[in-house]
Symmetry: C2
Subunit: 476 residues, 2 copies
């Protein structure tokens, strides 16, 4: 393998942030090319601050997953409100190299990187090169690997006899993604192998991610997922301490999270759950909260009814907390076509065509239907991306009516008498919130950043101006 | 708007084909980084030749849609077997500029470009710039626009008083995508406006795309879709000739297609349908066939049971006709987890983890379930990408059993006694055919090209070597 193929993402050039800013900085949304990916930095900061406060109220460190945005700027926004050197998770090696290239390790902004896929033999040389560069940039900085299979330990042991790898064992607490159940024989066998291989691997802790918490529909469910994650890591730590006594005196980090469950943690940080957790936590164990989607949110996240509000008011996240949207142009309308929402008797209002489809949004779905919901202009709320083709899509009226739509978005009782939306006009712009921020951001070569205080944009949604452009790290 | 923003895709740099070839050319699939997008040029050529023969058997020109691959190389492969100067459709301006940059217009390979989205006012300046460059490269070359709304004609008329725009009116023959029904008042009104605006727009013909033919499940259904497309364009042409008499003596192109319906055209090129079509075709009208996905195919296309075989044998397309796949690595296994296919009594075989997920495959679905089916190694046929996360995915066993799977893939009766697949091994590679080639190709920064005669790869599927790399045009 040549030098260049040891870092495949190096062959994928990024757009120049400087050239993009020269072209677009200061332009209002009404002047941008469409489709365009929009993020509001003021909302990102508010959401990131809230999550940092949640972690602080639990008195645990926050580890930020950067897979949703894959940018240096987004990483800084997530870490800054924690007031600490950053613990991060990456989902690709391209993201890890991006952090290095952006100087975040050298600056000390990022000091601890977990590579979020269980390690594979083929990637060990790349990971070794990455770790070497990370430690060159910052002696204290760490690269840690996730493990969920004995063969991965064997591959690490076979690779070289140098510096031991810091590893976390990934737990499956019911989601059926990566990981092992803490109560499985495979888990105990893996721990025994780790104990035998201690010159080459060093157990840092356990990692549980309730990805299936995205399926939860009310706060108590997300709360239960969090409890199951905490129980899983506590059980794992107890088993570890019984299997290799050295673990009982060494530090173990127990990392739990996912955006819905971390939000759930905010509901009762001083409740019986927290007290029980702290009481049950084995000696020498440190709890850590991890999450990634929370600065952005999306329709899937809203539908979890997770509760990000730490002020004490029991308010689930609402549409005003969501910042990711796709700016599109209406390029045709078909009055009278389609079916009327909520009625088979009324004549259909019609449908409309936009210049964005499955590529600009992804084909991800969610419990509320559609591939994205129109949020601006406000008179078009109730329209959804109903049928995406590859590069264009059909706007249709959502099923139900204004009362149901606003109840889902949690816009408050006052607005519930709102009327049905009007037809879109050819040539006008619409902002559409997608189902799944991670998938939609991945479809765009760069993101336009605005920085408006929430609420000021509602009346004239396309006047905010571009204040920055973020270029994500692509590939693997 | 600055010069650079008049061509937004110019700000998105492409990977260097030369650098990629230097890194990967000649490497076997077993040495490539994963996930990797694979295309087999020998299958592309066979499929492209077959479609060119279908069009020839109808005695109509073939217009190739390049949205699936968005590359210069793919465009050449589609046009070459037609033996003519190329008529193409693009879905983005980035694709059109890519054709120019690659010299395909100057060389005369591409001579006629339809911009495949109904035109919007905001894009007219970019389209004018594009047309000007196209005509600089080749005086005979044309850029044509799709129209389905009176406001688009008004926008074209308002833009400038220079050269008239060549337009096609897009018909909706039941799919509910872009376009107008030929029998609608809106359609007749649009034609009247076109007649009044003839100094600025010149009617080239009608365009009908049965995108909903992807929902068809047997040849007769795809055949019916084709008939409905032909009927729609013939009806449209008749109405046009009644509305403005000049059309009755001028040439009108009637473009029909989509991969399943174009394949359906192969079933009975000399049948009563064809005879009827030729008899019903109004004077001065030329039928044209268009399609785009056919060089590649995918699970959704196989499920349409469209019939690409022009040899006379009534064989639907089969897995051996599909060339797009994602090369992945198995990075963990979970023996005993999950549910056994086709049985609730047998203990589950297990599940496996691969290093590719929703981003590398897209979240598109299809009638056969899963987000992709494992095709190699052959002993793993029956596994699917069952639960994709963002950057990793869980392989699960498909529902049903070998007989049903092979009937779907049309692998012939002899193989039907095959046994259930084995468990994947950690570290081994798998090739997975996705649901929807267009969406999956869009997720990759470049494609690895192999060139094996079909059948030779089955025994040692990871020995073929990279012979080329195609870099697609991204953005809008």
């Amino acid at each position: 393998m040549s030098a260049s193929t040891s870092r495949p993402s190096a062959l994928i050039p990024l757009p120049s942030k400087e050239a993009l800013l020269e072209a677009y900085n200061g332009l209002p949304l009404s002047a941008l090319p469409t489709p365009a990916l929009l993020l509001d930095r003021s909302i990102i900061r508010r959401n990131a601050t809230r999550m940092a406060e949640i972690a602080a109220s639990w008195d645990v460190p926050l580890r930020v997953h950067i897979k949703t945005h894959k940018t240096a700027e987004g990483t800084r926004e997530m870490i800054q409100p924690t007031g600490k050197s950053g613990r991060v998770v990456v989902s690709t090696l391209a993201e890890a190299w991006g952090l290095l290239d952006a100087g975040l390790v050298k600056e000390g902004v990022v000091e601890d990187i977990i590579y979020g896929l269980p390690v594979s033999a083929a990637r060990i040389p790349q990971l070794a090169e990455l770790r070497s560069q990370v430690q060159k940039d910052n002696q204290k900085a760490q690269v840690r690997l996730l493990i969920d299979n004995e063969s991965q330990i064997e591959a690490l042991a076979a690779h070289d006899k140098g510096q031991a790898w810091s590893i976390m064992v990934k737990l499956d607490n019911g989601g059926g993604r990566a990981g092992l159940p803490a109560d499985s024989p495979a888990f105990s066998n893996l721990l025994r192998l780790i104990a035998k291989t201690s010159s080459q691997v060093s157990l840092y802790g356990f990692y549980a991610h309730a990805g299936h918490s995205y399926d939860s529909r009310q706060p108590s469910e997300a709360d239960a997922f969090l409890t199951s994650e905490v129980q899983a890591v506590i059980q794992a730590a107890s088993i570890a301490q019984s299997i290799f006594p050295s673990a009982s005196s060494s530090h173990l980090v127990l990392s739990v999270g996912s955006t819905p469950t971390a939000h759930a943690a905010s509901r009762a940080p001083s409740s019986a759950t927290l007290a029980r957790v702290q009481q049950e936590l084995p000696a020498h164990c440190e709890l850590e909260l991890h999450a990634g989607n929370y600065p952005f949110l999306d329709l899937q996240q809203l539908a979890t009814r997770a509760m990000p509000n730490i002020t004490g008011a029991s308010q689930p996240s609402q549409m005003g907390d969501v910042t990711v949207s796709v700016l599109c142009s209406v390029i045709s309308t078909y009055p009278g076509r389609g079916t009327e929402a909520g009625s088979t008797e009324a004549p259909p209002l019609g449908e409309a065509l936009i210049d964005a489809g499955g590529i600009a949004f992804s084909k991800d779905r969610g419990p509320w239907g559609g591939f994205g919901h129109v949020v601006y202009p406000t008179e078009l709320r109730g329209w959804q991306l109903g049928r995406p083709s590859q590069e264009h899509g059909i706007l249709t009226l959502r099923e139900g009516g204004p009362a149901q739509w606003e109840e889902q978005w949690t816009l408050g009782g006052a607005a519930k008498a709102r009327e049905m939306p009007r037809m879109p006009d050819v040539g006008e712009r619409v902002m559409i919130v997608p189902q799944h921020a991670c998938m939609t951001l991945a479809a765009h070569p760069f993101y336009f950043i605005v920085d408006e205080q929430p609420g000021t944009t509602q009346a004239k949604p396309f006047e905010p101006r571009v204040v920055d452009i973020w270029v994500p790290w692509k590939g693997w």
